[in-house]
Structure formats: structure tokens, C-alpha cells
Subunit: 237 residues, 2 copies
Amino acid sequence: MSNNKYKILLVEDESNIRNLISTILEAAGYHTIAVGTCSLALSLFASHVPDLVILDLGLPDRDGMYFLQAVRKEHNTPIIVLSARSHEKDKVDALDAGANDYVTKPFGSEELLARVRTALRNSRMNSDTLPSHDGKFILRELVIHYDARRVFIGDTEIHLTQTEYNILAYLSMHAGKMMTYSAIIKAIWGQSDEGSIKKLQVNMANIRKKFGAKPGEENYIINELGVGYRLNIDQKN
Amino acid sequence: MSNNKYKILLVEDESNIRNLISTILEAAGYHTIAVGTCSLALSLFASHVPDLVILDLGLPDRDGMYFLQAVRKEHNTPIIVLSARSHEKDKVDALDAGANDYVTKPFGSEELLARVRTALRNSRMNSDTLPSHDGKFILRELVIHYDARRVFIGDTEIHLTQTEYNILAYLSMHAGKMMTYSAIIKAIWGQSDEGSIKKLQVNMANIRKKFGAKPGEENYIINELGVGYRLNIDQKN
DNA sequence: ATGTTTTTTAAAGTTTTTTTCACGGATAAC
DNA sequence: GTTATCCGTGAAAAAAACTTTAAAAAACAT
């Protein structure tokens, strides 16, 4: 039996929109908890621990961004953000603050449901893939032991400094995905420290040098100009 | 049972054209609601909630643009705009205001029906295709991996620069829909940077070159003179 | 304190990307 | 048919981004 009784926390101040979305979600078989203020949302999140959050950014008491950051500090729950069409910049901020997806009003019910499905699917996938904080990561010759924080290329161990290891571990946990500079920098140094791209680049160079890539050989770490880095997970022939 | 009884709201002031189109649509199996003024159209839209709107821009009481914007504020319903050939700029304005497609008079019944089918198909598809930044986009040989920011034609990877990728990704997220220059430029460079159409053209040329279209073969990216670009999602024979 | 390792900063060098420009072909208007 | 406008193309200039190397600063251990 496909029991789709996911719990969804809906945070929206306009009551008519709240009811509309609530109805759509319930009709699709989700259990919906609907609130209109940020403070209420925070307490209900703590007590109910929903599987997903749909969050309107234009909240009365506090900015929805506050809720977003507060939740993201401790939880990995997928968050879909709603906002009016005009505020284009909010989109970037919300995604940077940890939102999983972004829907601009107006939107159709099918679109919302599709996004909900994707977000839930991805979060399930993540919980199977990401908690590899222990165990090890293997990619061709490269082996990372997360618990011992040790890295090998084939049989020989590669000594990495703390930051070098942190960067590599971060990339490996998102292997194959292009990770932006700001994402990496935030993960390693905490703040979006302006000017830190240089540091990142130097560290990357050091890691690559220690990996000792033969010229012509495909590199483990791929750079996309102006975007970021990603681990190359393609099979070699 | 395939019940294709889509509701179409037709807004056209000239009664003979209205009847003609109405007949064409009914014959094709659509349920048509035909009105001649903007105010009537708005109230009938609210009460009937049609699946698609066909809108003539040259309305007597108010400009059709008013209707377009009013509907777009709250609904995602596909809107096809009719306009006389001479008013070239109206098309662009209508698309920028959120119209999904446009047809220039005079037009054949087959053309109109084809556009109706595409618009309906796209609005349904969107809810399953759009789920933004994750997943991938597939169109014939073309594959886009959004999370890895990688593009393939068949088996071979195509390296695109950042702006080239951004443009293609933008088009793919609105696949099949004609995107105006200003819309694309705003999405890629941020401001409606005057004079950037040239840059856009150069980037388009580069993308197409990298795609390596054989001469005679239908291109992935289609241009409409004075309007913009769109991804060609039509089936090839 | 001294020496070693790591992190940060700086600068030169190289590659890639972005922008600009001029010309030719295509399309629409007259 | 002629003209004006718009788009595609190729190439070169300009700008931006990355790598590499090296040295200063900071952290750490002895």
C-alpha cells in the first residue's frame, strides 16, 4: 500500500491562499499543517517535525528568511519557497540560504505538486546518499576514509591539510555536481568571505598537485570558469 | 475514455472572426466560450476557469493587454494572442507580459489548432518538466544535466561557457515557448542592457556551432525575426 | 624561543571567456 | 525591384578567470 502521508508544514499569511494550497495538498494525499506567522511556524516545526515546508517569504511578523535560516541551522528538511514574481533577487538569496526550490506566484496546482514530489524524492535520496559521513568514498583510484580523514590514491596515502581535506570531502559528498564558489566557501570558511575565491583556488591547486595528475590524464577536480568546481565521476575508458 | 473537452475562452471583438474561430475550435472538439469585450472576458474567466485563452489584442473597451496582465497576476493559464501583422511590437509586448504564444492574422485553421495543442500540451508538461534545478532535460539528442551543468548531444559532451549554458538552460526551462530578447537578456545579464542583442546573437551562433547542426537539419534553436528565440520541441520526421 | 607546518596574501603568467566590430546574407517593407 | 532592417558568422580586441609560484603571516609543536 502506497502510504503517502507525508507531513507538510505550510507557512502563508494570506488566509485564502493558505486554504487553497492546503486543499490542493490534502487532495493529493498529504497531511497539511497550515500556519500564518513565523513564530507559530517555528514552534509547530519543532513539535511536528514535518517532512517538507512550503514557505511564503512575505510574512507579517518576521521575514520568512528568518524561519528559513533558523530551520536550516539544525535540520535538512526540504523547503519550497513561494514569492511574488517581481522579486527576482529574493530567489537567489532564498536558494543561498538553503531553500531547495522556488515557486513564483502565480502557479498552477500541478506545478506545485510536481515540485513537492521532487523535493520529497530528493530528500529521501539524500538521506540515503549523504550520511556517508562515515564509511568511505571510492572513485577510481581515489579513496577517502571519512572517519579517519585519510585519503589514498591507489595504495599510496596522500597527506592533505585540514582545509584541503575539508574541500575534497565536501566535493566528494556532492560528487558529480557542480558546486559553486559561494557554496564551497560557505561550507569551508563559514561566511561568504569576500575575496576568498583566491584561497580556494590555491587550495585546489595544492590538492591537484598532491594528486599528481599526469598531463593529458583526466583530472579528478573539474573547474567551470566563473561557476565553481566538481568531482569528475565519469568512467574512464 | 479520452475526454478532450478542454474549455477555451475566446476573446475577439469582430463577430464574424469570432464565429469562425469558434466553429473551428468546436469542430476540433474543444468547448468554446466566446466573448467580445474585455470586461466580459474577465468575469467569464473567473466563473468558468478555462484551460486556455485566445485573445485578440485589438479590443474596443480596453486594450487586450489589460486582460492579459490581469489574468497573469493570478493564473498560469496558457494565453494565445492574436494580432494583425502590422503591429509587430505588440507581439513582443504581449509575450513579455506573459502570453504563451501568438498568431498573426491572417492564419489558417490548422495553424491555430496546432498552436492550441502545443499550448495545452506545454501547460500540462510544465508541471512535470519544470522541477527546476535538479533532474535533467531531454530533447531528442540533447540532454542537459542541471545539477552538473553539463550538456550532451547524443554521447558526446558539449562544452559550453557560462553564458552559453545559462542561455540554453533558460530556453530549456521554457522549452517550446518563444522567449523575447528582453526576457532572455534580463535573465542572463540582469538589466535590460541596451545593445546586448548583438551579444545574444553571437552566443546563439556559438551554441549552434557547438551543437554542430548538419545543414538542412532542423535546428534546436529557432529564431523569430524581431521577437526572440525558442527551443524547437517539435517532433522530427 | 625556535623551527616546522599550515594558512593566507601577493604577483606574474596563461588560458578562457566576453565583448566588439565589420561584412554578407536573409527577410520584410515599400 | 529596391531599400532598410535584422540576423548569422568570423575574427580580433578586451576583459576576466584560473594556475602557478613564491613569500609573508599565523598556528602549532618541540
